[in-house]
């Protein structure tokens, strides 16, 4: 390495040092320290006492922790595919050459600019069992069904009934798919036109083109959005936290892993246990991301490869 090279490296390091320092102080240090504190009895204010695997043992025996794991997986299992389906179909529709295309794109993107907390408060009212817009829309539908079938069905009290509460949060989440739509739209601009043209010559219709050209070319973008969706879904916190006023929802149906972590850290002063939940959440997301990568490897087509 010549003198100049060394100097270049030094200058390069100097320029990225703010990032490196930030990464070390704000990411690596908290990550490692939470790993350490997960093996401590620690309440923030009194000294941490090392207790080995006690927190993890407690976690495995804690029915409420498992309830939060179930809720989180349930939420992710529906929120990710529904979000994917919705954002992808919206992107494909918004990519069609129509007058006023830009306006439609803006309209569908706007809701994702609403901050999480406002989104939660807004949907709390939309989903209100008594006066909510959602149920006001559903009531006539239920009325028709009741008349036709002679039943006595009524729309659910979304956030008050355990079996519907998570669906309320899932629907609320779908309102914010705008970011994913924008990423898909960007991806769609990269689909070579000549592929469509040659397919059209071969007599392909809209569905053929979508299935055989758009989706394969878009697969890296779908993969990216799915992974981001997976990480986001497993960290779901703000919306249910606001909707339940910091609680767990009816029969703990809205207690997610992140909520339980927060409760333990800041309500119950069990920072050590909260760190253990954090580590479990981290490992779960890591494992699922790895699995998703492995499983989808064969189906992702990179143009450059």
């Amino acid at each position: 390495m010549s003198h100049g090279d060394k100097r270049d490296i030094r200058i390069g390091l100097l320029f990225i040092s703010p990032w490196i320092l930030g990464f070390l102080a704000l990411c690596v240090y908290p990550l490692l320290s939470s790993l350490f504190y997960s093996m401590c009895d620690y309440s923030v204010l009194s000294p941490a006492v090392f207790v080995g695997a006690d927190n993890y043992r407690k976690m495995f025996a804690d029915a409420i922790f498992w309830r939060s794991v179930y809720n989180t997986i349930f939420f992710a299992a529906f929120a990710i595919p529904l979000g994917l389906l919705m954002s992808l179909s919206l992107a494909i529709l918004l990519n069609v050459d129509l007058p006023g295309k830009g306006m439609f794109r803006t309209i569908f993107f706007l809701p994702s600019l609403v901050p999480m907390v406002c989104l939660a408060v807004l949907w709390q009212w939309m989903l209100n069992g008594d006066v909510g817009l959602v149920n006001n829309t559903l009531k006539p539908v239920f009325h028709v069904v009741n008349v036709l079938l002679g039943t006595q069905l009524s729309p659910p009290n979304w956030l008050q009934e355990a079996q519907f509460a998570k669906w309320g949060v899932i629907f609320t989440g779908l309102w914010g798919v705008g970011h994913a739509v924008v990423i898909y739209l960007a991806g769609l601009q990269g689909v070579p036109r000549h592929l469509y043209e040659s397919a059209e010559i071969d007599g392909a219709n809209f569905w053929h083109k979508t299935w055989h050209i758009t989706l394969p070319v878009l697969s890296p973008v779908i993969y990216f959005n799915s992974i981001m969706g997976l990480i986001g879904s497993f960290q779901v916190f703000a919306v249910p936290y606001v909707m339940t006023g910091g609680g767990d929802g009816p029969e703990r149906s809205l207690l997610f892993m992140a909520t339980y972590l927060y409760q333990n850290a800041f309500d119950y002063w069990n920072m050590g246990y909260a760190c253990a939940i954090g580590v479990a959440l981290f490992l779960l997301i890591l494992a699922l991301t790895y699995a998703a990568t492995k499983l989808s490897e064969r189906h992702i087509h990179y143009e450059g490869k």
Binding site: V44, P47, V49, D130, F266
Partner: protein, 450 residues
């Protein structure tokens, strides 16, 4: 390549930084002016105004100490973070329920020695308020404004239902007899109004057992939430969905407006009796119709021959966080607030009663709430109690809310739901006791430091 112009700006930056660091708000100008006491309080609105007036009096009455009052939201969490970060305020106003967890986590300064030096003693207070401020043999706080819970009833609805408007129910059985008379159903059979609803507003799901003679904790190592008395109380809760229908009750509650609004079901006549504290006066004044007639009485017990005048007492308290910069001056301010005149000014402003034993004769004449005496009498009752001083109280309380919800919606029986709470809370409590065993040596040494 060199960057000569940058060097100049770097120097400038360094100089500016040095000036900035050496002149932080706390350090700047110290020594000449008064000692500034930072005081964080949870109140807003007229409650904050009442305390601000007391703070202003204190600041005007002497020139050595200046108290800087700030209204802080989510004070519990902020205080915990600020204290752990080493930058707590000098005085903080929290709820008495939070004291054990703060004390046991070494977040507070014990006040025993300061109180002794300042001549603040137990006999000046209504006994329960001194007890509420003590934990593990130390004094951690002094009270500001207290509250107790009572049955408040709507006299007009009593009259309409053919009941004596001046006679509240004397037992749980009688409460339910009144309830049956006060229920109103619509033509389609749905509930339009009810006499009493334990779920409204649902703020005290933990303590129903008290009116049945139950205890939540044996005072030592055992949680006693599934004792026969507590189960009996939850069976009483359980009887509501059975008698009135789960969906009907949920639908009734769904139609209730916000607590702090004219649509509060107690003010609209959809609930005739509620369990509430002295603050209800402010809400009645602001939101109830002008001709609203109300009475205050002890909430009835299951067997009035054995048990009477049961209430829950709580208090807002002032603490000095651990690591506060000026604990002595902070205590001087707390002591000032706890002297008779300022305390009465504060409690009048907030429409509460005073936690002090001595009370000036015109306090009750000046008091806007004509029923304040009943709340005070309840606080002095031998059956007045406060929630158990447990570090797991928040978890306990959350669990009780869940258990109440399960019973209320018919998802579990009273016994099942309380057994679950018992198991879970006991486990967490055992963990906390283990923690205490590990750290008690260090902490007690620190607390007893001269």
């Amino acid at each position: 390549m060199a960057f000569p112009p940058l060097r100049g700006s770097c120097w400038m930056l360094a100089v500016l930084l040095a000036v900035f660091c050496s002149c932080r708000p706390a350090g700047c100008g110290q020594g000449e002016g008064p000692i500034v006491i930072k005081y964080w309080e949870k109140w807003t609105g007229f409650e904050a105004d009442a305390m601000r007036a007391v703070v202003d009096d204190f600041n005007a009455g002497q020139s050595r100490i200046f108290v800087e009052y700030s209204s802080v939201s989510q004070i519990d969490r902020r205080l915990m973070l600020a204290t752990s970060g080493g930058v707590p305020p000098d005085v903080a106003g929290i709820g008495s329920k939070s004291l054990p967890v703060y004390a046991e986590n070494n977040a507070l300064t014990p006040l025993d020695k300061l109180a002794e030096a300042g001549g603040v003693s137990r006999d000046r207070y209504i006994d329960i308020f001194w007890k509420i401020c003590s934990y593990r043999g130390h004094l951690w706080a002094l009270p500001t404004t207290p509250g107790s819970l009572a049955l408040i009833w709507n006299k007009k609805l009593f009259r309409e239902a053919g009941l004596d408007p001046e006679r509240p129910p004397q037992s749980i059985a009688e409460l339910e007899q009144f309830n049956e008379k006060l229920v109103k159903r619509r033509a389609d059979g749905s509930l339009a109004a009810i006499g009493f609803l334990p779920a409204e507003p649902g703020w005290w799901n933990e303590i129903w057992g008290w009116w049945f003679g139950g205890e939540l904790w044996d005072g030592h190592e055992t949680i006693t939430v599934n004792s026969p008395e507590n189960v009996a109380a939850f069976q009483w809760i359980e009887s509501y969905p059975r008698r009135f229908g789960t969906r009907d009750l949920l639908a009734l509650r769904d139609g209730f407006g916000n607590f702090a609004s004219p649509q509060n079901p107690f003010f609209t006549g959809r609930v005739a009796m509620v369990l509430q504290g002295p603050w209800i006066y402010n809400f009645i004044k602001n939101f109830a119709p002008p001709d609203f007639e109300w009475g205050v009485a002890p909430f009835p017990c299951v067997d009035p021959a054995k048990l009477q005048n049961v209430t829950q007492v709580e208090a807002d308290v002032l603490v000095i966080p651990a690591g506060a910069k000026h604990p002595k001056e902070a205590f001087e301010f707390i002591q000032y607030v706890n002297s008779q005149k300022p305390m009465e000014k504060l409690c009048l402003g907030q429409r509460k009663f005073s936690p002090l034993r001595e009370c000036s004769p015109d306090f009750f004449q000046k008091h806007p709430n004509p029923r304040i005496g009943e709340f005070l009498a309840l606080a002095k009752s031998p059956n007045a109690r406060f929630v158990p001083q447990l570090t797991v109280w928040t978890l306990y309380s959350n669990d009780m809310t869940q258990a109440f919800g399960r019973v209320w919606t018919g998802k579990a029986t009273a016994g099942e739901s309380l057994d679950d709470v018992q198991e879970h809370v006991q486990l967490s409590f055992d963990d906390q006791r283990k923690r205490w065993d590990r750290i008690s040596g260090i902490l007690t040494k620190e607390w007893n430091k001269p």
